[in-house]
């Protein structure tokens, strides 16, 4: 029984544990550099797109292991259009940046609708439909860009979506009370307050919810386990907040990622659409016979993926301060890898936003750590490939083991039969 519990625990938290190990490993390899406040800050800003695209990709993968190959090209296309609009003068003035944002989101939406229509209603295999998108949208972007980079200069836009030195949440509380200093570093007070509030909120929610569940007579985890878990989570949050506060505060990109992840965590776990995504991926026929329009579910998944790709393009051009022909190359693979590392099944039906967060973080940590350790770029790719196969292998082996346990029993019986037979023949 104990062994079974440990196995379950490992299954559930394997990748989380792996991430922690990798973080610690790189801490020593880089001589502590990888956990410097500015490194952590960069980790978020540089990988923002992986979180956003990974979220969309998860929706597609949930419906049955379907992937969207086009997202990198969509980011490039929507980004180009957005950048061009921001640089265009109309009646002597630059077009205001919110217009560009809306256009970029709409571009993403249109792409999503386009894919959704072909995949859900015409039944074009997703791999092909999105491969078409991957080629066509990049081509289209290049046509718009005329093969050249377009620089984004709008400061407001970059401040809101994160790009330059000023793209942090301003320290509203800077002049309230005395300055906060630890080890000679001036801390961002807004960030500290926000972190403490978040930690308190989580603690209160956990225990209020537990009390409510007990009151309604539901089964709950042991109090000790809950307390331990909460302490761990709160500790991580506080540490993270402290690191950010000792650099420049909360990066704006972080707010956007958190918002997207929160919304989609809600959608996947608490709404009928989310439930339907899992059901379609688990057994499409049974879902259809349960009165659910499975085509609509597929359509929704790809539409949302499109919108998220549009949103990712905003973050990407803000961060890069430009749109260009090669922006977004290989993004689809980062997103797919994040999902699978995070435990999504390649056959659909299982996976979670939490997994995407872990997957994207692990990939980000490895990327950054290797950069700091000055690993050559080509070796980095090999390492990332190996990480992906290890992550998936672990899951596959765990499942094989469960089936294998049954088979072994049968084989053992078989051996018994053989031995008795032979014994009989001898006598």
């Amino acid at each position: 029984m104990g062994a079974g519990k440990i196995k379950n625990f490992l299954r559930k938290y394997m990748m989380l544990i792996a991430t922690v190990i990798v973080v610690i490993a790189f801490y020593f390899i880089t001589g502590g550099q990888s956990l410097n406040p500015d490194s952590i800050d960069r980790l978020i800003s540089q990988n923002a797109y992986v979180f956003v695209l990974g979220t969309g990709m998860l929706l597609c993968i949930l419906t049955g292991g379907n992937i969207d190959l086009s997202v990198g090209s969509v980011v490039c296309l929507a980004g180009s259009v957005g950048a061009i609009i921001m640089q265009t003068r109309l009646f002597g003035a630059l077009i205001p940046w919110p217009v560009a944002i809306i256009v970029m989101l709409i571009m993403g939406l249109l792409v999503g609708l386009w894919h959704g229509y072909w995949i859900a209603y015409v039944k074009v295999p997703p791999f092909i439909a999105t491969l078409v998108g991957m080629l066509a949208f990049r081509g289209l972007a290049n046509i718009f860009l005329k093969g050249k980079d377009v620089i984004v200069e709008n400061k407001d836009f970059m401040n809101v979506f994160g790009g330059s030195d000023t793209c942090y949440v301003p320290d509203f509380l800077k002049n309230v009370g005395p300055a906060l200093e630890i080890g000679g570093v001036n801390l961002n007070k807004t960030c500290i307050v926000f972190t403490i509030l978040l930690a308190l909120g989580i603690m209160i929610y956990t225990f209020v919810n537990r009390a409510r569940l007990i009151k309604n007579g539901y089964k709950v985890d042991y109090l000790a386990v809950v307390i331990l878990k909460t302490i761990l989570i709160v500790a991580v949050i506080l540490w993270f907040g402290y690191k950010l506060a000792s650099y420049r505060g909360i990066p704006t990109a972080f707010i956007w990622i958190a918002l997207i992840l929160a919304v989609f965590a809600y959608i996947t776990t608490k709404t009928t659409l989310g439930r339907n995504l899992y059901a379609v991926g688990g057994n499409e026929k049974a879902t259809r016979l349960s009165g659910i329009d499975t085509r609509k579910v597929m359509f929704s998944a790809y539409t949302l993926m499109g919108v998220l790709a549009g949103f990712a393009s905003i973050l990407v051009i803000a961060r890069g301060q430009k749109a260009g022909p090669t922006v977004g190359v290989g993004f689809e693979m980062d997103a797919i890898a994040a999902c699978f590392i995070g435990g999504a099944s390649a056959y659909g039906g299982t996976g979670s936003i939490g997994g995407v967060i872990i997957g994207a973080t692990l990939m980000g940590v490895i990327n950054q750590g290797m950069n700091m350790a000055k690993t050559p770029a080509n070796y980095q790719k090999v390492v990332k490939g190996v990480v992906l196969i290890l992550a998936v292998l672990f899951d596959v082996l765990m499942q094989l083991k469960r089936k294998g346990a049954k088979k072994k029993k049968v084989k053992k019986n078989a051996i018994d039969v053989v031995t008795t037979e032979e014994g009989g023949a001898k006598s």
Partner: protein
């Protein structure tokens, strides 16, 4: 007495929780056609899978003696090497390859590194001639009908130098003429090649026509072997062997049955096969069910029962569906499962793993899947507490054995999975429930519990249609019984008048009737001309 080619001695095969074969003995002489008959799930196919090595040596107990030696087959190739070839009910042909390519798939002619296509097609033509097929061996499989495809399968088996040919339900997807042609071919092969054959069939008239010996299998055991020379092998005699068990009180009784108005009525319902669009899978069927009534539909596999049920349930099967569907006296058109559920229908599938449950999801998620509106606000925002409550309620009500409602359905036993499936449809709150083989593959205890649930549903005023191929179950549970065979309803009787014999008689009788009907049609056509 001819030489015994095959002897299977006290074969026992156990699946987790079920003894599929219990001490089975089978003796087949060289050059004879031996038929295996029995109800669904009696163990015929399992026995043949043991023989052909699909269940490898070691997973069963007992001995297979073939051609004088004890054989241990670990895979199909092993048994094929010895000349034992099995032709499965579902044809294993690749539609977009030619007849010749299919025949030598895995047995390619020529050298190891280069396929000799001339030889392939020449050989193929030789065997095709043997089975009386005149099509070129370069024709694609998809371009010939199922009858001819079945012949190709036999030719393929001959090309493997088969000495013992096993045909599993070879005529189940064929029409009368093709079936007869196939049976005649079997007789011809027996006479000219001295081929030994084992045929598994539900169609008893065919069995009596073609077989030299008939072995009856029931509940995983061989009951008797009849010899066409010495014994009576009429259909009634075979049936007696097939269903010869007694009906004891395996079925809970219902008290003060109150039957109300007609809830659902289906008139002149006709459905065509989705792929072979000229084949009728449901032919002019009219049935009805009343409130508080349990109506049984009995028929053998392939009779069109599931097709009927699924086509009613929001046209989820078949094409060219015609006929009238009335619910509560009002005529309705149900174009999707969604509409059917809204109209108060529920279809509990026979294929719970394929069509019924999402195995990778929890009991909770499966229970609420067909009625997410019932546990959400505005059909969008799920109320997890309410879901838990509902799932818990049904787990208790149906006595599903599970540690918690968060348990994945894939980890449950068959009986408990069936309960989750029932819970899902009960929560959808239908007026009419169509239960398709509700007790397939579950143990006796769980069966009894399912029967109690069915009775409770009827008591609550629901209309229940129970499709089953187990005669005792149909007779024990139903108020009224329809008998279905070859896409038609061939009989209707009150449960009080039903016996195993007269139900089987309805099925046997259809052959004569349909021939009469055809001759009548021919007459009328003639008079018009």
């Amino acid at each position: 007495m001819a030489k015994v080619l095959l002897e299977m001695k006290s074969i026992t095969k156990t699946f987790p929780g079920v003894k599929a074969l219990d001490n089975v003995n089978l003796k087949v002489e060289e050059g004879e056609i031996h038929a295996l008959v029995g109800e669904n799930g009696a163990g015929k196919s399992t026995l043949m899978n043991v023989l052909s090595g699909i269940y490898p040596f070691g997973t069963y107990e007992g001995d297979i003696v073939y051609d004088g030696e004890v054989c241990r087959f670990h895979k199909i190739k092993d048994s094929e090497k010895k000349g034992i070839v099995i032709i499965h009910q579902e044809l294993a042909l690749v539609p977009y390859l030619t007849i010749g390519e299919n025949m030598f798939l895995g047995n390619e002619q020529g050298s190891k590194w280069c396929i000799d296509w001339n030889k392939t097609y020449a050989e193929a033509d030789k065997y095709l001639e043997m089975v009386g097929l005149t099509d070129s061996s370069k024709t694609l499989i998809k371009d010939i009908g199922t009858g001819k495809q079945q012949l190709v399968e036999i030719a393929k088996a001959l090309a493997k130098h088969a000495k013992l040919l096993i045909l599993d339900e070879p005529t189940s997807s064929l029409n009368e003429t093709d079936s007869r042609a196939l049976l005649d071919l079997m007789k011809k092969l027996q006479k000219e090649q001295g081929m030994t054959m084992i045929i598994i069939s539900h169609k008893l008239n065919e069995v009596s026509y073609v077989a030299d010996k008939i072995t009856v299998v029931r509940d995983g055991s061989t009951i008797e072997t009849l010899d066409s020379k010495t014994d009576d092998i009429s259909e009634t005699r075979i049936i007696k062997g097939m269903v010869g068990r007694e009906i004891t009180d395996r079925f809970p009784k219902r008290h003060d049955v109150q039957i109300g108005d007609v809830m659902m009525e289906v008139n002149n319902w006709t459905v065509y096969h989705p792929e072979f669009s000229e084949r009728k899978v449901v032919d002019d069927v009219s049935i009805n069910v009343r409130a508080g009534e349990v109506v049984g539909i009995y028929g053998l596999m392939g009779a069109g029962r599931t097709e009927l049920a699924m086509s009613i349930f929001g046209r989820s099967y078949g094409i060219g569906i015609s006929g009238e569907l009335k619910l509560g006296g009002r005529r309705v058109t149900l174009k999707s499962p969604k509409m059917a559920i809204k109209a108060g229908l529920a279809y509990v599938t026979e294929d719970r793993k394929g069509n019924g449950l999402v195995l990778s999801n929890s009991i909770l998620r499966n229970t609420t899947l067909a009625n997410l509106e019932g546990v959400s606000t505005g059909g969008i925002f799920l109320d997890h507490d309410k879901e838990t409550e509902v799932a818990q309620e049904y787990v208790e009500k149906l006595r599903t054995k599970t540690p918690s409602v968060e348990q994945l359905v894939g980890n449950l036993s068959g009986g408990n999975q069936q309960k989750v499936l029932l819970a899902k449809w009960m929560f959808a709150n239908p007026d009419v429930l169509i239960l398709d083989e509700p007790t397939r593959g579950i143990d006796v205890g769980a069966k009894y519990e399912i029967y109690c649930i069915i009775n409770d549903l009827a008591k609550a005023g629901k209309s229940v249609i129970m499709i089953s191929s187990e005669l005792p179950e149909v007779i024990g549970m139903s108020d009224r019984i329809y008998i279905m065979n070859q896409a038609k309803i061939v009989g209707e009787m009150e449960a009080s008048e039903a016996t195993q014999e007269n139900i089987m008689a309805c099925i046997v009788g259809v052959r004569g009737e349909s021939e009469n009907a055809e001759s009548v049609n021919a007459d009328s056509v003639g008079s018009e001309a």
